[in-house]
Subunit: 388 residues, 4 copies
């Protein structure tokens, strides 16, 4: 293989698609406090309006993930039309079976059949919404788990989970996929029912090829090598997508690339190397902007993912393979580090110019007056947020 | 030293005092959801009523910590009188400078002087409340910190913190103490301003002898040896007290002793060995009962601390010292394990009989009808909770 | 189900089989220092002699795992006969492809085919040894991995690993099994080729039913819920066995049950609940006794596993299921804790009396004179150890 | 403050001094295997010869730390003269009280007075060596600790430690310093006697101003914010220096900057911001090159530290302070990230040209023929290594 061709890199960066989550435009916080921000959307439509600004200034974020019931509307086709009107489209549908009082001890894994049925009905409703919006992917994250040893039977909960997943999978259309997310802990503090990629993978295997694992970069134990998981899932044909965010401690949900940009680069390198760079992989953000303004934080996150991608694309595969094959530890590492140490901001400026947008998205957004406008226009009403 | 004298152990267990926190009687949850429970208190007085039940059935929990402003009342002397009327007394005052919108970027460490002044005023108000309630200890936990590298200047924040602590310390009466709590992370996700015992200790040193460190058992990095910290703080004369709870992952705030009862035992052993078992050390619970009923969870936690204490008191100091001095690794470990492996429930039943209470506190509470009564009586009104 | 029947518990404990590892009788240490101990075996036969003492005093440790080449002998049938002569038998064969200079960059995953071939030949030799000794299980732990990002291609290493495993699996006899072990890190410090149960499981799935995962209790990231993995592997029919040891930090290899006895109990509970308590699961110790005398440390470890097992067997399944089904969080937890808090040492004394051995194995070994005898007899020659 | 002045940055980088450790030139490994490398030094003098090559090609590494007894020689003045002859000088003296059989249960904290005395004598001998070599700093890292709860008395060990430190401090000359190192764990696996910065700091406080804490970047629990510790120690006037290396898991001792270059940058930023960039802070490497060739690995590590330093120096303090003061979270973070995202390799090439050396140290070393020469010349004799 030849050294990376800059025009191919530019083309790849131009074609990249990053999905932003509707909920990141609303208020969020910790268990201690949700700090409200001025101009926050009050409706799903206003979230799409904000998402359209992110796409306008980055050129690579035309898809918006929804979260049901946070984005529940009477007419999903109309919501999808609104999205198109403002220049974006509806992407992944995220189910939520963790905020009803019934779900205190679980949803699809709850010991009571009636609660499980209620949860399953919600999941099936989400597929209905996918049909209405034209969404390809159903993303399932379960808060299910237990807080105390003995609280419930770990194995029976797996049986119940498998039953629900199977029913949902059977309901999917032929072009629709199920993305199963895992998470080490939180809100469950003893045992989480899908705590790691292995559990998600084992369930997907039994369901079929359109059941895929989604990797949230904040959902692992300390020390976990996430890019290894990415490489492994790609090798197994089971990487459905990402929830990008970053963390120093637990599931901190900081801006992607903010805590460990080198890790994000390594991860994107494995995506590229494993053939995962393309529309078959959903590159989603899943973040909370608790203290920083939301739209610019999302723009910045998109840019961080772009920079990691650009560096990953700049790795010279031939030089790398040569060093690896000859056992040249320092040489192989140096090939990777050369790409990482490159300042790719000029390259991305060129990409943006090719897209007809300002090479400096943060400055362009700041100049646009959008922040002032929404602060003024959205002064009344109920701000959207987790739980709203 | 002779082997432990059972009557001395019994006397020690009879004299033990465990402080329960008013907020654990109210609703709590994670950032994802707060599940409401039936019968939850609506007022500080009702929290004291519930706390009185815990003391009634355990005999060792006569002190209740308050949290300001969650327990703000017009007349603190009246609140203290209510406590006495129901058989308990007001203990530690906990300040809260993390739930106003002003505190989004910090309280006493905030870059703006006006916010710092507001936070300091609250801390000083807490000392006024201590004067009114006769409380000995002011517990300070700061949510202050930053989420992103560069967000604020780490060192300037320490300077601001020192200034506030100094002002509060100067305001304390001669019998009052400041207990400074540290926490690794949450809600700050990059840098916390008092992240570890070393930072708390360094500040206390500069303040004076009545500034002491409080150890929350859930506030450490994975792998931290907490009993070492206990032993070290006792050696330095700076252990003010504990916030007991337990964790598998982060600051999970599960019932004390639920996740790692062996750790709780080791910690209580160091307390006993270091001369910290007595009224000079505040043994407080600080927990969240998100999914389990609150009063029995607190009773159970008190019992777990008692069991760990009983085992710690049963360690044979002479046998241990002999094995340690002779380098007998297995023998010394066995002395500790012999105590830990002892079933101390019969011993604690005897202690309870000596206190004139039922040997089985959980069963006695269940039989008492209190749960049914508060469920009926507290059906209306606003339940107390974090933020309420 | 009725409450646990004490005679059934006694019978189960009497039938329990714990396998001790030959290498734990030899010297071991950290990268900083190996402290030699008096009386350490100089030959595989002497290791078996020591293992026979552990069985003599515990009654439940009749099987000894070997490690090749540390236990390489000219005549394995003779070694197996020696084992029988002293009252034990040869168990699992452990391959070692990490101590030749050729393996600096890997063994079966090495970039060079010649090194991979050499490693594979060793694995096949181990199956020959199994044939000669009548061993059922081949345990494979690979130190393979990389220290630096980019050093080698993560995915190609998986391809090479799969190829080697497939060749070994094809060589196994119909009654022989392959136990694949995973480990988070060490000695590789960036990416380990089998870092987690998911990777081991995915490989086993492709090989066949006699490829099973082995869980070393010290090989996980901080916060990992190991009993969840046990429950999951049992549900998938892929739990081959355990390497027991304990840890506070990394792969500390301390005595089983020494660091977190509650965890060991929870794990054994899942074994019992999931139908894994029986000869189909290999219950092995894998420990390093760096500073404590080896034979008594192994006796103590066997006893710790027995105590955890006894407590697990004492859990009342009917009471637990009732509480779980009704969503009684505290009640269900209490059922588990009641068993854990029981002092099972008297019960195990009874089991030992039933086996015709001293109820106090540690004291019996101390009295036996074996330590003095081997110290005197084994004064000359080369002590066995890691690398010897 | 104005934006960074490039000539000042260049001057600072030109004046930077990085100390390399003699032991990194010798063989090292894990507890599983030490892989020997061709050309490894056989004597302290040959280690200095290799270190001189690192300085020759980087221009900023003229100081070499010694480790006693690994670098024990009959005539230390002669060794220091040899260092000068080859273009470097002897730096920090590292004591070693962990590789004698006597130290199995500790050195200065050992329960037996005779062992403590022996360890203290060694520490005092190290000060004698400092006198002979003109070294400023004595670095103390103690492997002391316990593997099992109860094994020894945690508090008594602190008392013994304090006694030894006090004796050593009293022996120091007026220009000499004691650098006390802390480490979370390894080789002790339950409690380490100096496990964290707080413990080291507390001891230093009692000794005097020339007792300072040294931060080894690999010696912390997962999630620890190391730059916070740096900022705090600088604020307290107690940062003596660094042991640089990097890690993904435990104390992996990989090349500095290899695992988390962003962390190394943040740490160097706090050094610069806190006034720690100067000769009063010892910037040392402490690494193990287990699988990669040692001299180029050390050159690469020096370069990585230089790159992190260059980026830290490029942070615009005025822009940062303005954003911080105004609570502009994203803006302040962006100022830091702008510096981090800069490709500083051209700047460092300029610095090297100013020093009269090749702008590409790795290539220059590769061309120099030194590797081939030492491989040929050092074929016989005993290679140096840990324990050699």
């Amino acid at each position: 293989m030849p050294a990376p061709d800059l025009s191919a890199v530019t083309a790849a960066l131009t074609s990249q698609r990053i999905e932003t989550p509707s909920w990141a435009y609303g208020n969020s916080g910790t268990r201690f406090k949700v700090f409200a921000q001025p101009g926050v959307p009050r409706t799903p439509e206003e979230k799409l309006d904000d998402a359209a600004r992110v796409h306008e200034h980055t050129g690579v974020a035309p898809v918006v993930a929804l979260h049901i019931p946070w984005d529940r509307v009477p007419d999903y086709a109309a919501l999808a039309a609104h999205a198109r009107d403002v220049g974006v489209r509806v992407g992944t549908i995220n189910a939520n079976v963790f905020q009803d009082d019934d779900y205190k001890l679980g949803s699809v894994t709850h010991p009571e059949p009636a609660v499980r049925r209620k949860a399953l009905d919600h999941l099936l409703e989400c597929v209905d919404i996918m049909d209405a919006t034209g969404s390809r992917d159903l993303k399932l994250w379960f808060a299910d788990g237990t807080n105390y040893p003995g609280q419930d039977d770990l194995r029976s909960r797996q049986d119940r989970l498998a039953e629900a997943l199977s029913a949902v999978y059977a309901r999917l259309g032929p072009e629709q996929r199920m993305l199963l997310e895992y998470k080490l802990f939180e809100p469950a503090f003893y045992a989480t029912d899908v705590p790691d990629w292995g559990t998600a993978y084992a369930h997907c295997l039994k369901l079929g090829p359109r059941a895929q694992v989604v990797v949230d970069t904040g959902h692992h134990a300390p020390g976990t090598n996430i890019e290894f998981i990415v490489a492994t899932l790609l090798r197994e044909g089971r990487l459905g997508g990402f929830d990008f965010n970053s963390r120093f401690y637990a599931d901190d949900d900081l801006m992607a690339g903010a805590a460990d940009p080198f890790q994000l680069f390594r991860l994107m390198y494995e995506v590229v190397r494993g053939g995962g760079f393309g529309p078959q992989t959903a590159f989603m953000l899943d973040q909370c902007h608790n203290i920083e303004p939301k739209i610019p934080a999302i723009i910045r996150s998109v840019m961080n993912v772009q920079e990691a991608t650009a560096k990953a694309l700049l790795v010279d595969p031939a030089a790398l393979a040569a060093a690896q094959t000859s056992g040249d530890v320092l040489g192989a590492n140096a090939v990777l580090m050369d790409a990482y140490n490159t300042d790719v901001r000029p390259l991305l400026a060129t990409v943006r110019e090719g897209l007809g947008i300002d090479p400096d998205p943060m400055a362009a957004y700041a100049r646009s007056g959008w922040a002032e406008r929404i602060t003024a226009e959205r002064a009344d009403g109920q701000q959207a947020g987790w739980g709203a």
